[in-house]
């Protein structure tokens, strides 16, 4: 994985000192909260319902065991002994004191980590495929391109006061595991006539106005990648709406201009910029690529797995994924224990995952946008030992991509924007399905819960989505069906009137039962919904 050189380290260290100075000025009253807010936001520090929240960047979701240990130490030293892995492949701490924030950033800098641009109206942490470098179906590892864009976007002088936040995802396979087309810019590394290049999808997003990004450029040569991204951003910075924060994301600009007109404006800017020396030397991409070369895989690793223990066999079937090297698998550690808080991990569990990564996965971990952790490179022969250790620590839930593998935002338990709680709904649903034993029969069923219209819990992209709203002071939950964040991307539709907290759990089960009744061979919930449409579900829910 990528390692800092003295340049990268100097930049992160300077940022810590800058923030220390800003926090001191705020604590001394020399900065008003209004003046301090955009500064703290660009360092990932939010003011939430009960305390400050610090969001730490995990670039493209990749980290090593030393970094995971540092995250655990921060949880113990400055928080309440746990952290929350997010849908942006980051980690958040919910109980931070302003006085400690600069010290935390300093601790992070010691392990080549930071909270730079994890919030604010700037280019956010770049996300990517959590199986990058391991997936059997990828064209190349997408992370070198994500790292190049990380450097380009860090402290960008022109794009730090954009109309709104800006999220970029990079993938390199036809299977989309990063919700690429629901980002402000989604980049897919593709091959054309033997050359690698980047397809640009611009103007996707969730929030209150969900949009699927159209492709505005099918092939940008790799030695023009940064310049093209710069052109996309400049058009947005100049033309994006600033009169209404709810219409300020690039998706609105692309929608109002039309994808073709936006693409034309970008092309004009791009042509002009080609002479401006914006593109990094190609050797930099080559340098970055060397950090992402394959670890020393055992080319003769055994394909055999002893499946005599049925619990282990179930976990292997559910939570491991095909690897590009025979004899290896990517193993998913579920942070969705039945009745638990999706994405939460205690410091003790973080340390265990770090140690297991060191022992079994070439020291690498990944954070998934579905709020789980991946050990990307595990020998199949080691899977049983890994599972045994996970199981003993309560981390062995065999529920990847099932109805129990719920994405949920922090909701009204933490977030000052939320209208309703998300976590208790997720807990009750996983308990309901676990107890009824239907999880297995339902197979792949992606369930996503947001506690407000901002959609941090990706409810638009759930096979089943739940949106918490406030109805006359009472929490109310709308049910949505038919969304997908993957390569078959689609936006979910609302079934009808909402439900109360108990009612929404029943409604999810009712929808699941319609699927079990109507499905044909091999169909997932989403496939059945797409075939039979909304009506049978509505009849069952409201009939």
């Amino acid at each position: 994985m990528y390692l800092y050189d003295h340049y990268d380290q100097a930049m992160v260290d300077a940022r810590v000192e800058e923030f220390r100075d800003q926090a001191r000025r705020r604590l001394e009253g020399k900065l008003t909260e209004d003046q301090f807010k955009p500064l703290r936001l660009m360092n990932g520090l939010y003011l939430q319902l009960h305390a400050y929240m610090l969001r730490v960047a995990i670039p493209y979701g990749t980290l090593n065991s030393r970094q995971m240990h540092a995250l655990a130490d921060i949880a113990d030293k400055y928080d309440r002994g746990y952290g929350h892995f997010t849908t942006r492949q980051n980690i958040q701490y919910n109980w931070i004191r302003l006085q400690d924030a600069a010290d935390i950033l300093a601790d992070l800098a010691k392990v080549e980590m930071h909270a730079i641009q994890t919030s604010g109206n700037c280019i956010r942490n770049i996300s990517s495929d959590h199986f990058a470098g391991a997936a059997a179906d990828e064209l190349v590892d997408p992370r070198p391109y994500a790292e190049l864009l990380r450097q380009w976007s860090s402290f960008h002088p022109e794009f730090s006061y954009l109309p709104r936040k800006f999220k970029i995802a990079v993938i390199a396979s036809d299977t989309d595991r990063a919700a690429m087309r629901l980002h402000d810019i989604g980049i897919q590394i593709v091959e054309q006539d033997g050359e690698l290049g980047a397809a640009f999808y611009v103007g996707g997003g969730m929030g209150r106005t969900p949009m699927i990004a159209p492709c505005i450029k099918e092939f940008v040569p790799l030695d023009r990648l940064v310049t093209y991204a710069e052109a996309c951003l400049r058009v947005y910075n100049r033309e994006g709406r600033r009169d209404n924060k709810y219409k300020a994301r690039i998706k609105i600009l692309v929608h109002e201009m039309g994808a073709e007109e936006y693409a034309k404006a970008v092309d004009a800017e791009f042509e002009h910029m080609l002479d401006e020396g914006i593109e990094p030397p190609f050797a930099e991409l080559e340098r970055i690529r060397t950090f992402f070369e394959d670890p020393a895989f055992d080319q003769s690793a055994s394909e055999d797995i002893d499946r005599s223990d049925p619990d282990f066999a179930l976990w292997v079937d559910r939570n491991t994924v095909a690897h590009k090297v025979p004899g290896y698998a990517s193993a998913v550690i579920s942070l969705k224990p039945v009745g638990g808080i999706p994405g939460d991990a205690t410091s003790e569990r973080m340390r265990l995952m770090a140690d297991l990564a060191e022992e079994y996965s070439f020291d690498e971990l990944r954070v998934m946008h579905t709020q789980n952790i991946v050990l990307p490179h595990v020998r199949k022969a080691d899977l049983h030992a890994l599972w045994t250790a996970l199981e003993a620590a309560g981390l062995g839930s065999p529920n990847l991509d099932t109805v129990e593998d719920i994405i949920a935002c922090p909701g009204l338990d933490y977030c000052s924007l939320a209208n309703a709680r998300s976590i208790p709904v997720a807990q009750k649903i996983s308990e309901r399905f676990s107890a009824s034993g239907k999880t297995e029969a339902l197979g792949q069923l992606k369930l996503k819960i947001s506690g407000c219209i901002n959609a941090c819990g990706h409810h638009h992209a759930g096979h089943i989505g739940i949106l918490g709203v406030d109805r006359k002071g009472v929490e109310n939950y709308q049910l949505l069906l038919g969304g997908s964040e993957a390569e078959d991307v689609s936006l979910a539709k609302i079934t009808g009137p909402g439900f109360d907290e108990a009612g929404i759990v029943d409604a999810v089960e009712t929808a699941a039962d319609v699927y079990l009744r109507e499905r044909e061979d091999g169909e997932r919930f989403l496939d059945t919904y797409r075939r039979i449409g909304m009506t049978p579900f509505k009849e069952a829910l409201y009939g």
């Binding site: 450097q151 002088p157 401006e276």
Partner: protein
């Protein structure tokens, strides 16, 4: 329009020439009249309209009515990329925490609504040891240094 005599107290310049001694006009007025040599660009103005007339411009003020409106950063870079070498002055809600990025986008003068402490400005401008990307200033990006 600001009175220049009081303006000078707040003005921080990184240029050796003398400041323009007359007030800036709006972009529309500038395009209508050939005599003005100072213009003020508002966030919604298209700075590219000035490009055919750069040779008669000595001062471009870019207004930031609110520091969170970043359109002026692009206006500044566009003008520098087009070859403008006159004074590029950030005016309005310009705070010390933005001046480093503004310098990188080509601003060489600041006339903020609230006076800035010169030593705070110097500290802000010397904070960053390196830059990652190229912009309108002379800084060499890290990736060029890596590959000398």
């Amino acid at each position: 329009m600001a009175d220049l005599s009081s303006e000078n107290d707040r003005l921080i310049r990184y240029r050796k020439d003398d400041p323009v001694d007359h007030a800036a006009v709006t972009v529309d007025s500038f395009l209508d009249q050939s005599s003005a040599s100072a213009v003020r660009v508002e966030p919604g103005d298209d700075a590219r309209e000035l490009i055919p007339h750069l040779e008669r411009l000595a001062l471009v003020e870019v207004n930031f009515p609110s520091f969170g409106d970043g359109r002026g950063y692009s206006s500044a870079r566009l003008l520098r990329e087009a070859g403008y070498e006159g004074e590029l002055r950030a005016v309005g809600d310009v705070l010390v925490d933005q001046v480093a990025y503004m310098r990188r986008c080509g601003f060489d003068a600041f006339d903020p609504d609230a006076p800035l402490d010169q030593s705070d400005v110097e500290a802000a401008l010397s904070r960053w040891p390196e830059v990652y990307q190229s912009a309108a200033d002379a800084s060499t990006p890290i990736w060029n240094k890596r590959h000398g």
